[in-house]
């Protein structure tokens, strides 16, 4: 086991080649642009500019993505928990049939739907008013950071739940039954028995969600006004308005660093777990 496996390298090779040719090689040009000054020397000037102009947006992006990921985790655990431990067959069946639908809606369409749903005079507030749950004057628009988070959570919960519910369904029912027979509440069974066994799946799903949300342009662009906004919008703006690829790429590198850090934390954690196990 100590020696790297040649077979392993061979098996990874095709995928690596593909990433290398279709992603790393083109990425090289972008990185070069981000780190060189107009004259050609190495420089961090583009990062300085990115920081000067977009420091608020970097924090805003982090805030949005972190909050969305946490909420996604919460809702996915709840839904997957009901699907696995629910004792009302019709409820489980209905939930199972329902929760997946947003998965099939592209982000750009989700953004369009939310823009018309969450607005001040949108379908949601109109429905509440029609049902008598709200006075028309109380209606407020959610088309700001809240709208972005709602859209992300709406879109990503089915993704994580799909993975999580699958994993939960395949764990040994005997432990669950044992826990229930000992009088543990379903919430305790979920949190103390089920969740630890599917933790890895949950984390993989969340890491993928995190990175996906970081890369979406259409949602912040279409759901919320631009002050402050997410990094993807700033990148598009740098390119479309100034033809300034260097700063856009510098912002890309920052976005990379965020994604890479999260993945690294996850992988460290999972390696530790493997060692312990």
């Amino acid at each position: 086991m100590a020696k790297p496996s040649l077979l392993g390298l061979l098996l990874v090779a095709p995928a690596l080649a593909m990433i290398g040719a279709l992603f790393l090689y083109p990425l090289g040009f972008s990185l070069a642009a981000a780190f060189t000054e107009p004259g050609g020397g190495l420089s961090l000037m583009h990062f300085q500019k990115a920081y000067e102009l977009y420091s608020t947006d970097i924090l805003f992006t982090l805030f949005i993505v972190v909050v969305s990921t946490l909420l996604t985790a919460l809702f996915s655990i709840a839904i997957a928990g009901i699907l696995t431990l629910g004792e009302t067959p019709w409820l489980v069946a209905a939930l199972r049939a329902l929760y997946r639908w947003p998965l099939f809606i592209p982000f750009i369409v989700a953004a369009q739907c939310m823009r018309t749903f969450l607005a001040k005079n949108g379908l949601m507030n109109n429905s509440f008013v029609a049902l008598g749950l709200m006075e028309p004057l109380q209606a407020t628009s959610l088309l700001d950071w809240r709208g972005i988070i709602i859209t992300f959570v709406w879109k990503q919960v089915p993704f994580v739940t799909l993975m999580l519910a699958g994993a939960m369904a395949s764990i040994d029912r005997a432990t669950i039954e044992a826990g229930r027979n000992l009088g543990a509440s379903r919430i305790r069974v979920l949190l103390e028995l089920v969740l630890p066994q599917v933790g890895q799946t949950l984390l993989v799903g969340l890491v993928l969600s995190f990175v996906t949300m970081l890369s979406v342009l259409s949602v912040p662009m279409m759901v919320a006004g631009s002050q402050p906004t997410m990094l993807t919008v700033d990148m598009a703006f740098r390119i479309n308005s100034y033809g300034d690829y260097a700063t856009a790429n510098a912002l890309g590198v920052i976005s990379y660093a965020i994604a890479g850090t999260v993945a690294w934390i996850y992988l460290r954690h999972s390696v530790k777990r493997e060692v312990q196990a």
């Binding site: 809606i105 750009i108 379908l123 699958g166 039954e177 229930r180 066994q197 993945a263």
Partner: protein, 293 residues
């Protein structure tokens, strides 16, 4: 499963037998009401935004102060499906590309996922991060350079080129999820197969792969959806020879052309749902399971 569940809830009821019967009934009734209300709220949040989509697809006029469309009609469906509109052709192209993308992505990510999960690899963490990154970078900058490379080797404007670009992007899902799925397969089962004389290859195809299949199939769904929704890469590599439906969707949606965008999105729902159902039929029942653990 539900048999067991009923049995255990029957037990729970028996345990609370001291409670008068009527109170139990009220309790059950209240809980049902609560569940119905919860489910209704969930359904509202889930389908509210989608209701917008459906309404806009048949709304011919809809503006303030009207809360619902002023007039309904199929005018925009006719626009989408008009003879010069090419909607059906580009839909077929999109679906074809998505299927091929799934094949390509799985073909390279199954071996890679296995190696990452089971074999000793140097820089494993770095490799895993590497596979995640195509998702994290602003794709436009990458695709411009890909297009440049593809022009010089004649891959632009071909289905192959578009499939390659989509597959590279899909690897994010397929490699990560495949690696997790293989890691979850019980090593003892493999050892048992080896002990009774199966070759490593045979063990892989008869024991490991089938056990990891559910997770891999789940990743296939995500790759399929990712490809079906992609437009930036398609534009740089495929257009004008290869045009897919999401290009129309993107244009219409960004321009606030709600009717056309809604109809296009509804059309794209069909292959997505069909693909999902086919995969589930494959997998039997409710276990898109074993992803990770």
């Amino acid at each position: 499963m539900s048999g067991k569940v009923q049995a255990s809830s029957a037990l729970a009821l028996a345990g609370s037998g001291a409670r008068p019967d009527t109170e139990g009934r009220i309790w059950a009734f209240g809980s049902t009401i609560l569940k119905v209300a919860g489910l209704a709220a969930f359904a509202f949040l889930l389908f509210g935004p989608l209701a917008n989509l459906v309404l806009w697809s048949v709304a011919e006029r809809w503006y303030t102060p009207f809360k619902l469309p002023v007039s309904y009609g199929l005018r925009y469906w006719e626009v989408v499906f008009r003879p010069t509109g090419d909607a059906m052709t580009s839909l077929m192209t999109s679906v074809g590309i998505a299927c091929l993308t799934v094949l390509v992505a799985l073909a390279v990510s199954i071996p890679a996922g296995y190696a990452l999960a089971r074999l000793k690899l140097p820089w494993r963490t770095a490799l895993m991060i590497l596979f995640l990154l195509p998702q994290a970078f602003p794709s436009v900058a990458i695709y411009i350079n890909v297009a440049r490379v593809f022009y010089s080797i004649g891959l632009t404007g071909t289905i192959t080129g578009v499939v390659l670009v989509h597959a590279a992007h899909g690897l994010v899902y397929s490699v990560w999820i495949a690696a997790a799925a293989f890691a979850a397969v019980d090593r003892d089962l493999e050892l048992a197969a080896r002990n009774i004389g199966a070759s490593p290859l045979r063990t892989f195809f008869t024991v490991t792969l089938p056990l990891a299949a559910p997770g891999i199939m789940a990743s296939a769904i995500f790759v399929f959806l990712e490809s079906l929704d992609e437009f930036t890469g398609t534009f740089f590599v495929g257009v004008p020879q290869v045009t897919t439906l999401p290009l129309l969707l993107y244009n219409a949606s960004m321009g606030g052309n709600y009717q056309i965008a809604s109809i296009t999105a509804l059309i794209l729902l069909v292959p997505s749902v069909v693909f999902m159902l086919v995969i589930e039929r494959f997998l039997k029942a409710d276990v898109l399971s074993k992803v990770g653990q």
